[in-house]
Amino acid sequence: MRLRARGIVPGRASGTAIASSAVFSFVGGVDPANGSILDEATGIAGERLEGRIFAFPTGKGSTVGSYVLYGLGKRGYGPAAIVNRRADAVVAVGATLAGIPMVDRVDVGGLLTGDRMVVDADRGSVELPDVKAKRVVTAILRNQGRILIVRRSEKVGTFRGRWSAISGHIEGRENPRHRAIAEVREETGLRGIVLRSGGDPVFARDGATMYVVHPFLFDVPSRRVRLDWENVEHRWIRPEELHRFDTVPRLTDVVAAVLGPPA
């Protein structure tokens, strides 16, 4: 599959991903002598940057990070490319000094260490040749501060028994908004629903499949839900209770995409 991205530092590179969900500082986060990751919070400590596509949400820390990245690049220990959710000036300037292609506006939560990737900052794209995209909608239903979660039945194709929000596949060129409205009606029987907003797509990964989740927020007038065959159980919960449930991947991020980060 191919993802759209924003080119920050020009160039093109291919390689294997080294992915972290932690905000990263090149000061203290990496050994400047050989490019091996030191920061344990990354979940990839001990891995070497050399020749890899380094994906992390965003940079933090002092300007010295730019110089560290420059030194790594000069000695050939730098990454082949950098992919961020949101580029920051320290990493971007360092990548420029080191001549390392860089893109941002990619939801790095869908990238896994080991993914083969082609980063093209000139065209603004990231390609994952071994990953197939499946587009889905997820509808967050809200009633007086609580949101609806449902437990998936044993008859559905994926994530059986896990907690999810109302969701469904997007067919062909179908408008995601229309699909979301249809799914809410089919799976809950609710009427009088009001579409409040949509959020940026969230990438949820399941092996070689990338679920491109289009999130929508609905206000609903009632909590009286009539489930169809796809779900066996439902709860109205406060958004901050979500972590207590065994959910489908990245449901918390999907909720945050329409409601904002949890308080």
Binding site: R6, G7, I8, V9, P32, S62, T63, V64, S66, Y67, V68, Y70, G71, K74, A87, D88, A89, V90, A92, V93, A95, T96, L97
Partner: protein, 387 residues
């Protein structure tokens, strides 16, 4: 970003360093979605203290200095020690040697070796509406607020790139819109002395990355230097307005803005919050470096009430050399007047554990950058206490 023919020429036909500098400006421009580059009349770069930038910074600067030359008048921030007195200060020789190499790298690039955080006290006084690219947060706040010049808070390498190209991405505080206030700050007490630092610290904490419009007090240029330095430390503020005083305040739109109030109690609380030491081993004055008038005043105070603990006074080389009498008085009482460096970027942690200072910026950064506990009080009170 729209590039002029001259920009394009530099990008395609320039030297390696010019192309790299242009690349940095374009990267920053893309990040902030700037429409174009705007020509600048001066640059001020940060990243000169070896303590702060270490070996990675030294390596970059020495590589860059082989061919890089600045194209506009450019000054540079303080070093990590006074290179004329480092032995007496107990600074390790390797530190001093590497610090000297950083200084020489900047000089080789054509940067004026001011090693000061107060270029505006050394003859670099950009006029109202002039575009500049400065990297020192306190100087940025002063230039925007007090002089009405226009600069964002540049990163060190970005300011150096701007100095080489002679332009910087136009966004934020370069634009009329980016200079509009976002919050009104009413000060309900008459400030004097370190109160300006305290107002800055309290306002910075409350407004974060907003742009405050102060009302309810007045102050001299020197007062506003302390306010701006503290504001830019506790907040991400590159500018403030002060009603009836700063040049951009007239015509600023404040109608409908959120308003907050700072009282005497707030200042007292902030002073207490930044004082965690019990006994100081050093009185540190500076951050930002002292002006000539401030240095002379300190000399008079020290002569009247000499302290029994060491006192280090930070100023620029230019001010130090022009005021031998004041320097003589302070040294006669066992103090030191250090040039080319400043309180929180200098090496303190090898000798001291607690520093007494009236500087808001100093009180804010000494714990993290110098591993010091702080006693935060007016200079008269400190001299009295350690007489």
């Amino acid at each position: 970003m729209r590039l002029t023919r001259a920009d394009r020429h530099l990008l395609d036909e320039g030297t390696d360093v010019q192309r790299k500098a242009m690349g940095i400006l374009l990267t920053v421009g893309r990040l902030v979605e700037a429409a174009r580059l705007v020509p600048i009349t001066s640059a001020h770069v940060s990243g000169a203290s070896y303590k702060m930038i270490g070996d990675p910074g030294l390596e970059f600067l020495e590589d860059f200095a082989q061919t890089a030359r600045v194209s506009v008048p450019t000054t540079v921030n303080p070093l990590g020690t006074d290179l004329a007195q480092w032995q007496e200060l107990g600074v390790p020789p390797t530190f001093a040697e590497k610090q000297g190499r950083i200084a020489r790298a900047y000089e080789a690039m054509g940067v004026r070796p001011t090693f000061s955080c107060t270029p505006y006290l050394l003859g670099v006084r950009p006029g109202f509406g002039e575009h500049i690219a400065w990297a020192e947060s306190s100087a940025v706040c002063f230039a925007n607020s007090v002089l009405g010049a226009r600069t964002n808070r540049e990163g060190g390498p970005a300011a150096l790139a701007a100095a080489i190209v002679g332009a910087t991405p136009e966004y934020g505080l370069h634009t009329d819109r980016g200079r509009e206030p976002t919050v009104v700050v009413k000060v309900r007490t008459k400030p004097h002395g370190m109160d300006y630092s305290l107002i800055g610290l309290v306002a910075g904490e409350r407004v974060g990355d907003g742009l405050p419009f102060f009302r309810g007090f007045r102050g001299t240029e020197e007062d506003l230097k302390w306010l701006g330095a503290a504001l830019a430390s506790s907040g991400a503020c590159g500018m403030f307005h002060l009603e009836g005083v700063t040049p951009d305040a007239r015509g600023a739109r404040v109608k409908g803005l959120k308003s907050i109030t700072i009282t005497r109690d707030d200042l007292t609380t902030a002073k207490r919050a930044h004082s965690d030491g019990t006994e100081a081993d050093l009185i540190g004055l500076g951050s930002p470096q002292l002006s000539a008038a401030e240095l002379q005043r300190i000399a008079r105070l020290v002569d009247r009430t000499p302290p029994r603990i060491p006192i280090w006074v930070f100023t620029s080389r230019i001010v130090r050399d022009a005021n031998p009498d004041a320097v003589g008085i302070i040294e006669r009482h066992g103090g030191r007047v250090l040039a080319d460096t400043c309180l929180e970027v200098t090496l303190l942690e090898h000798r001291f554990g607690t520093v007494a200072t009236p500087s808001g910026k100093g009180a804010y950064y000494l714990p993290s950058l110098c591993k010091q506990k702080v006693i935060f009080d007016d200079v008269e009170a400190l001299l009295e206490r350690y007489a």
